[in-house]
Amino acid sequence: MSDLKNLRGKAACVGAATTGCGEAPGRNSTELMAEAVIHALADANIPLHEVDGVFAATAVHSMAAMSLAEYLGVHPKYSSGSNIGGSSFLAHALDAAMALEAGLIDVAVIAYGSNQRTAGGFKSISEPMPFEAQYEPRNPITAYALATSRYMHDFGATRDQIAEVAVAARAWAGLNPEAFTRDPLTVEEVLAARMISDPLGKLDCCLVTDGAAAVVMTRAERAKDGPQKPVYLLGAAMAHDHRMISEMPDLTATSAADGGPRAFAMAGYGPNDMDTVQLYDAFTINTILFLEDLGFCAKGEGKDFVGGGRIAPGGALPVNTNGGGLSCVHPGMYGLFVMIEAIRQARGTCGDRQVDGAKLCLAHGNGGVLSSQVTTIWGTEETL
């Protein structure tokens, strides 16, 4: 019989790093990924040769974990290059926790890197979707535009309501020196931006940047010995139900509503306990759908929930405190950056954007076309 709590708090993040965020001219994706690993290991004060678990996925490597391990010169006892899109890294945290708890490995690194911006724009090794490709969807944006059109139809949402997501993200980015776009943004500016795929305009869409990130995880007992405040993985769960947007059962309801409650059950906490909420915001609609599907508000109410500054700095619920994929960084696959912002908030190291006393932080990853959903809940020692 399954026991959702048997991984709760058994593994922790002991090192984290980002690098090359924004533009990293002349550096390739593997170099960036390896640099992030070196910084994260330094953060954890763990030597490279102790790494025996490697987890990676990118949009340009078909076998990312092997490419990274080879580059680093480490010999994993367990690795996973499982690629379920931008949420892969949150799934890797669950993989790592399982491998650590099972005693298969002692030190896990999870990594991502991309130089897409300075190398000429978004690229993906994704195959064309059968029965869709002929109609020339410009994925991923076509899929998210379709979801937005249905959400607006079903719940009477307007573009200006949805634009509040971008405005709040930009306000957070203004507090984050690492964010790529930091100038203040208004709803009017979001609405006036060039249309890309109706009803989504340019400022409803994530950035196209370079960037790399890495996280180091160990078992909880070792985590206490490191130089950083350990941040424990309290809950994690995944769900997915389609690969092609034409196969998504309901474009206004993601499978986060399936995995999210399992992650909360494992953690023993609920939505109201979260001090910060980090959601994969590839497009403005994402934040609304995930707030609803993860239980922060009812289905259809997200359009109102995100207004009035509620999710912006100083609001009742701090969401995407780094500025998100919309305004901080989005190097093709953003999930690891979502997770690192949750970890940094729990560490209390976020400077001007730090949420006072943040102890419990949710990081939610999305992959494909609203396809894979992975929810993780991170907490400080006192939340164990």
């Binding site: 969807p137 059109s149 060039r194």
Partner: protein, 126 residues
């Protein structure tokens, strides 16, 4: 005697029907459930009793977007998800109307025409 899994697969069969000017979808003999896109089994239940039936061609726009594209590259075009009267949903393009005027809930009817050099199911307002 040929078995259920013998011969060309469902995708090849579908594309041959399309080349012959027919919009065919699958139906489970036992449950009557219609299936698109073409598969070797009924999704979820796993039954292997699918047969081909001609689609009515009637549908409703479930979701729609106007993809903005420079005029010199062909101009804007519509991409929609269409709920077929038989139940399944498919991606398609609604034509015969400005691409930004395709609305969710609009009734549409299928026709087969060339799209980028191959036969395709397109829809136009019913």
């Amino acid at each position: 005697m040929s078995g259920y899994f013998d011969g060309p697969g469902p995708e090849a069969e579908f594309r041959q029907f399309l080349a012959d000017g027919k919009f065919m979808i699958q139906r489970s003999k036992g449950s009557g459930i219609h299936v698109f896109h073409p598969r070797v089994m009924v999704p979820c239940s796993g039954e292997t009793d699918l047969e081909w039936v001609e689609a009515s061609g009637e549908g409703t726009v479930y979701a729609a977007t106007c993809t903005r594209r420079r005029p010199e590259k062909g101009g804007d075009y519509n991409v929609s998800l269409i709920d077929l009267a038989e139940g399944p949903r498919m991606m398609a393009r609604v034509v015969g109307i400005e691409p930004d005027q395709v609305m969710v809930g609009m009734k549409v009817r299928a026709r087969i025409d060339d799209l980028n050099g191959a036969p395709a199911i397109l829809f136009e307002p019913a």
